[in-house]
Assembly symmetry: C2
Homo-oligomer: 234 residues x 2
């Protein structure tokens, strides 16, 4: 960076501000995270969370969504602020504070494409992550714990499944994220008692056994349910 390019001046020094996204997807019994291979220093060639600098004319949520789309092609997904990480030495380039987000995507919708300053993007199992740049492993850990906690009291698990899913798929998703087995009958009883999924007149296709009924998350029923003072709980 040439000095002549430093055209933005302030009376006091300012940390740089970035957003980073922990993007989760669920794929055949595995929880995966989207990482990009860094195309520049520092940590050139290392895997990292997608993210980048916040622009002056965009909200934080907007910045997170933009960076996610620019670096991975992922857009219009569930995206929620996670935590802000600001340790003084978390970036070797200097003071960089990052507002971390986590995203939940329906994997089936996404073909990945690398672009911008990411030379590559790929999904990794959360149990087999490569060594990550910066403090991204720590950020990931916080995100994973948040996901585990939140999936039990907010209906965010549906964001990781296709619009139409079987109850067994949903149960497997919960088992995968919570890392424990769940009783099939009790799970269904509790889910159906909430009356927030709609049973469809369709069954899954191309399976070598009895086809399971398909369901859909009914967001309007969920809102009604909330208004009546009930709370999601699985």
């Amino acid at each position: 960076m040439k000095n002549s390019e430093k055209q933005y001046s302030y009376e006091y020094p300012r940390p740089a501000l970035t957003v980073d996204c922990v993007v989760f997807a669920y794929d055949e019994g595995e929880l995966r995270v989207l990482l990009i291979k860094r195309g520049e220093e520092p940590f050139l060639g290392a895997w990292a969370l997608p993210g980048g600098f916040v622009h002056m004319d965009e909200d934080l949520d907007t910045a997170a969504a933009r960076e996610l789309e620019e670096e991975t092609g992922v857009k219009k997904v569930f995206l929620e602020q996670l935590y802000t990480f600001g340790a003084v030495d978390r970036d070797p380039r200097g003071r960089v504070v990052t507002v971390a987000y986590y995203a939940l995507v329906k994997l089936t919708n996404y073909k990945l494409h690398a672009s911008t300053d990411a030379s590559d993007a790929a999904w990794f199992s959360v149990h087999d992550l490569p060594s990550l740049a910066f403090d991204h492993q720590y950020i990931f850990d916080v995100a994973f714990k948040r996901l585990q906690a939140k999936i039990t009291y907010e209906p965010i698990g549906f964001e990781l499944l296709p619009n139409k899913f079987t109850l067994t798929q949903l149960q497997r998703l919960y088992e995968t994220i919570l890392e424990r087995e769940i009783d099939k009958r009790n799970f269904r009883k509790r889910l159906l008692a909430m009356d927030i999924v709609e049973e469809l007149d369709e069954v899954e296709q191309d399976v070598a056994h009895r086809a399971a009924r398909l369901y859909r998350f009914d967001r309007s029923s969920y809102k009604r349910y909330l208004k009546e003072g009930f709370e999601f709980n699985l």
Copy 2:
């Protein structure tokens, strides 16, 4: 601000970064928040959350604690990151992103003193707040909801009471924050079942009726309790 004073230059523009604190205290059946009267523009003379700019050599938590102490004299209290607010137009001076914290203080410990850029500080009932500067009312709302949620699953209520307290005081605190009545016998049963408060050989003083037993939160018992896989719940 003279141009000659603008000595910190960057290649790209950077938002300013601040911290703000929502400081709660509990006083005789009322939940209170600590506000400062602004001594400078913008919003000169308006009430606001204590806060200020993050320094380059301090973590976010450190910045929050420092600003809190500088502006109000409050120090060494429970302080936890709440959320980061970054709407483009939230500050009329330009782009300012703020990392909000909430703090819980034992009111009895604090004599307030104004200083630095706060010309005054005072406690307000959460149900009778003045009009606040910036988006501070919104930040407060988020903080209050967080407190209501968190007090039921983490033992943070004790941070708002003296070290020695009666069970009725604790119950009143919960009733105040949750804004509903709680059954005395059930409350005590659940609290004592967790075995995280220690019964002292002392009773309250100077009351015109039977004196209540004093208790103390036992942090080491609580940690043991957590390790055994139990979770705080009130």
